[in-house]
């Protein structure tokens, strides 16, 4: 077991190394740099050259790469070129906000999709299953920005039931938390839940075709017990994997939701920083996203392995 975890971690570390190089390569290939951005329309050749020199952007790529990796190894992502402030200081609060949003979304979408996935599995082939399926497919088929935009217009502007902006500073009580986070979370959780419940349903149905499920039916075991006691323990590995995958694909929607609700999170920071060519911030954000994904899937893999290895260790 310990060996398996070590192996999995080593594999993830390799992936991470690849990601690190890729991220650096792409950011290095971006046309223009922060000097251009800072000077904007007033950039002259000599002004940008001088600024570039002052910022150390004129050093060869490998030197910058080495310095960056060295810094990251010491948990020091460097300074933002745009603002001159430490990247950690810039990213920190945003990371917190993003985690908060992600946690809230996961807290909604994981239980909902588990219940939906289970319900659809047990009622597969029925009208209920079909309606839920159609609904879920419909949800993933409409761009998130449209869902979010329509939701804000309807609920904030027309009915005044929720604020148009997710103002995190306005949160002082659990009720306010719900009020502020309701719409962003719903917009985000929609597509995630749809995807997740479909995947969970697929995993469970896979398990349901096993002979021991038939055996349980023939033993006269109640359907709820079959699902919870017989199917779930065997599906847990793939279900956890499905959850990890869906949660990580949530990031696409995060950019949109952060923009539409003006929520200060990581994705928006990264998009801004790409635009501003604030490379240290971009790299830091991208790395955090990748690490989040990799650790999520690694964790899922380990959970999956642990669940299938139960009893087999002896």
């Amino acid at each position: 077991m310990g060996r398996l975890i070590l192996n999995r971690l080593a594999a993830s570390a390799f992936s991470l190394a690849f990601v690190v190089v890729t991220i650096f390569a792409i950011t290095a290939a971006l046309p223009g740099d922060v000097a251009d951005t800072l000077l904007g329309q007033s950039a002259t050749r000599e002004a940008t050259a001088a600024l570039r020199h002052a910022m150390g952007l004129d050093q060869p790529a490998w030197v910058r790469f080495g310095r960056w990796v060295w810094g990251m190894l010491h948990a020091d992502p460097g300074r933002s070129l745009m603002t001159g402030r430490p990247v950690a200081e810039l990213v920190g609060p945003r990371l917190y906000n993003s985690l908060l949003l992600a946690a809230a979304t996961a807290a909604v979408s994981v239980p909902v999709s588990l219940v939906l996935g289970l319900a659809c599995t047990m009622a597969r082939g029925t009208l209920f299953d079909r309606v839920v399926t159609l609904l879920m497919l419909g949800t993933v088929s409409v761009p998130v920005f449209l869902i979010a935009t329509v939701a804000v217009f309807v609920f904030a502007v027309q009915f005044h039931v929720a604020p148009a902006l997710a103002d995190i500073n306005a949160v002082h009580s659990p009720l306010q938390f719900i009020r502020v986070f309701l719409m962003p979370v719903v917009a985000l959780a929609g597509a995630t839940t749809a995807q997740m419940s479909r995947m969970i349903r697929a995993c469970l149905i896979d398990v349901f075709s096993a002979p021991w499920i038939e055996m349980a039916v023939l033993k006269g075991v109640a359907p709820v017990r079959i699902v919870l006691f017989h199917a779930l323990p065997n599906a847990i590995g793939s279900v956890v994997n499905a959850i990890a995958l869906s949660l990580s694909s949530l990031l696409g929607g995060v950019v949109v939701v952060e923009t539409v609700f003006n929520y200060p999170g990581m994705a928006g920071l990264m998009v801004d920083s790409v635009a501003a060519r604030d490379v240290p911030v971009v790299q830091c954000c991208a790395l955090i996203f990748c690490v989040a994904y990799l650790s999520l899937t690694t964790l899922a893999d380990i959970v999956a392995a642990a669940s299938t290895m139960r009893g087999r260790a002896h």
Binding site: I23, S141, V144, F145, L146, F289
Partner: protein, 277 residues
């Protein structure tokens, strides 16, 4: 020529007949959208960039069936072009991602364990970069053009296709007929192309279909970041995005493209989904 065409059609029909109902329905749907993509723009009454009315976000009317867009252009005409570009880009990027993904996925089963592991890790790494941000970065680096879009989306969806096809191929590679071919001394290419690939077509087509749907959605979400086809042409997502303000007036300019987009994705998704019990 006619003969061979007829032969190809017959072979195609025979191929489709052998497929499971899911992929078959999906293929039929795709064919329908392809026809729209090819024929549609020829039927468009106006050029995609032509301003036909001073009224923006106009509703349904006899002159402009689907109303006008945010600049006062004919929405129907733009919609027909949008379908063409969405279908074109998504098809090509799907072919690209699945082509490479499938080839690598199958090849991985024939390669040494280490190569396969490294490949798997690289794919994992690629998968870990959020797709929207990856697209943003790459398009920022490579410039906004249809080939860049296709290439980027191709890269984004390659790891998924790799994973699926590798899992499928791994199962098939253990089949005895593959062993039999190897025992006969067939070359690797032959084994991959003739022994393994034909037996993956059903599930692979489903996978390709799903990836096409993902591509459509990614493309429409990319429009949120302002990326897409060069104006005056447009893809479906950008069509929705550029007219999103019309929502407050309930303008067809935002409603109709959304419905078309949903029809495209939900239809395909549903067709493919139904095959699973």
């Amino acid at each position: 020529m006619g003969m061979s065409l007829a032969g190809a059609a017959r072979r195609g029909a025979a191929f489709a007949a052998r497929l499971a109902p899911g992929p078959r329905r999906a293929l039929a749907l795709l064919a329908f959208w392809f026809v729209i993509a090819i024929v549609g723009p020829l039927l468009a009454p106006h050029a995609p960039g032509e301003i036909v009315d001073r009224d923006v976000f106009a509703g349904f009317s006899a002159r402009h069936w689907l109303g006008t867009d945010y600049l006062g252009r004919d929405l129907g005409s733009r919609l027909l072009w949008a379908v063409r570009y969405t279908v074109l880009i998504c098809t090509l990027s799907t072919l690209l991602s699945c082509g490479f993904g499938i080839m690598l996925g199958i090849a991985a089963t024939a390669m040494s364990v280490w190569v396969e592991r490294v490949l798997g890790r690289l794919m994992d790494g690629l998968l870990s970069i959020p797709s929207l941000l990856f697209a943003l970065l790459v398009i920022a680096a490579a410039g906004e053009s249809v080939p860049a879009l296709i290439l980027t989306m191709g890269v984004i969806y390659m790891p998924g296709s790799y994973r699926t096809s590798r899992a499928l191929a791994l199962r098939i590679a253990q089949a005895d007929y593959v062993m039999a071919a190897l025992a006969r001394g067939e070359g690797r290419i032959f084994v991959i192309l003739r022994e393994i690939l034909p037996n993956m077509t059903g599930p692979l087509l489903s996978d390709i279909g799903l990836r096409f749907v993902y591509a459509v959605l990614l493309l429409s979400n990319l429009s949120f970041l302002g990326l897409g086809v060069q104006p005056p042409l447009v893809d479906l997502g950008s069509l929705v995005r550029e007219n999103v303000l019309g929502m407050v007036y309930g303008a067809p300019a935002v409603v109709v493209p959304t419905i078309v987009l949903a029809l495209l994705t939900v239809g395909l998704n549903f067709a493919l989904d139904r095959q699973r019990p």
